[in-house]
Amino acid sequence: MFEAKLLEEIRKAREQWEREVQSGQGTGPERKDAFTTMGGIPVKRVYTPEDVAERGIDYLGDISFPGAYPYTRGIHPTMYRGRLWTIRQFMGFGDPRKSNERLKYLMKSGAPGLNVAFDLPTINGLGSDHPLARGEIGRDGVPVNSLEDMEQLFDGIPLGEVSTSLVIAYPPIPSMFIAMAEKQGVKPSQLRGTFQNDSICRDVGANVRVVPRRAELKLCVDVVEYATRNMPLWYPISVVGYQIREKGCTAAQELGFTLADGIEFVRAFVQRGMDVDSFGPRLSFMWNAHNDFFEEIAKYRAARRIWARIMKEKFKAKNPRSMQLRFHTQTSGVSLSAQQPLNNVVRVAVQALAAILGGTQSLHTNSLDEAMALPTEEAVKVAVRTQQVLACESGVTHTVDPLAGSYYVESLTKDIEDEAMAYIERIEEMGGVIECIESGYIQKEVTKAAYEYQKKVEKGEEIIVGVNDFLDDEQPNIKLLEIDEAYERYMCRAIEDLKARRDSKAAEEALDGLREAASRDENLMETTMTAVKAYATLGEIWDVYRERYGSFDEKAHITGL
């Protein structure tokens, strides 16, 4: 990007400047011998045009314009000048009625994107009345056992007018959602939103596994195949890096592992017979926004560049929209502290700003009380307002990708890209991401990074304000959300009531139909939908899947220890 003669002049001037700095003229020693990003990438004292030139970064080839390949600067030409990101707060707790109230509260607060978390039994394919569900109902999300629960959850919410994200994989819950929308008079073709539907991130990031891995992948592909045919406005998969990052990997590993996850899914869709440009424009991603401001921004920029090239070069996509990496971001939960919880408001604001400068399409900001419990309404409101302040008051939305051309940010974008690409290539050589989970490679890499980070915190090499420095004895005086055990009793009774009221013959027949379709390895969306409409429960439907595929063997799982 710079002429050789100019670079030579810059080199000479820099060397002179460095000699002066080394000799200590007018300055003392630096605070540390070496500086690195949170992920361990060395950071120099200062960056110059030389760094951009040395790495061969080419403006038109590698950076280019917003909305132009390889989309480093963003997927839309006007970005936030055209439309701001969607404020999309993740929520779910208690029971469907309680969560319905919270959804409406969020909409009223100016957070128009709905984003539903399901509780642990629901995401594990277990009814609220299962022995392993004891104590877990409504604590980490909303429990949904049947179409009836889904109807309560979205009661009074016009699904034709909002966009809804469901953090769930496999056919049962998407089927309940689609069937519920139809009862509202909204056709699948009119629905806007996202199913997370990434079995791999749930497996390695969140330890959620129901049936063996290849069967889980097949069930996710079923959802995508159905949506590609019937739901043109829907994003049927969001490939997620968030959870694995929370588990402790670095920013570059988050990209490497997750884009490898994306490759595995694209391959599976193509093997199912889908054209890459039929589903490519409807793929989406989800990233973490962690503490190291510039490293995170570089990560989002690198992600777009890598994915565009993978889709174009490896999968031969023709439609530019297939090459555009669109993403949701959530600020880092693990970065929050239970100590001095008000400090979390500041952490979240910095992380959110990184996501915005990185060009996110939608954003969840965590609440200040989330190191201790699910958030209260008051805490959620501050989180929503944080986004609104950044959107309306900071001025960062006036121009697209304002950090492009920063010698540091462009160098770091390239560093992250190179490190992530090295992981992607290694994973591909080892047979793909599922192989690398089965061998324990990814878990071990993540645990190692998490442990190394924790040791730095122990030694005080990483400072966490209020946790290992700037301590005080003041006990936090904030009200926390408590989840009543009454929700559990209510949900278990509701299953009993439903089973007594429904047409049991119709439910049985629908489950038999599902069983037959499963034995023939068909796409299970339609038969699951039939079962859902006959008020078969989540637990019953999953029992049919488990009958066909077997349960995941947790005892044989490699943990990364």
């Binding site: 190191a371 442990y451 966490i464 055990e485």
Partner: protein
Amino acid sequence: MDETIRILIAKVGLDGHDRGALIIAQSLKEAGMEVIYTGLKNTPEVIADIAVQEDVDVIGVSILSGAHLVLMPILMDALKKHLAGDIPVVVGGVIPPGDIQKLKAMDVKEVFPAGSSLESVVAFIRKIAASRSKGTVE
């Protein structure tokens, strides 16, 4: 008598958040302890069975799901049923400050909320294991 402390690191219920459990396990190993890890998705009853079979000196339970006030009493009762109520139990994870006393009232010896240092966990486990082997745990 073998001086090596045997500790069971346990995940209870459906909670899949194992970052903390794995880091603690690693650091207890490095501190010279013998660590047995239960893996995921265990009922409290199963954890009590494993603790008894493995004859551990201490049980460390990791819970980030919010289910601690439901699952911990079941675990403590199951240990008593096995006549193993004397095995000291500690808890770590996402625990609201107001719940710490409630857990201690169930005879949980200590609670390590998010942000606790590895050093403080290792030191407490050494202390509690030592006092148990001398029969001085109150």
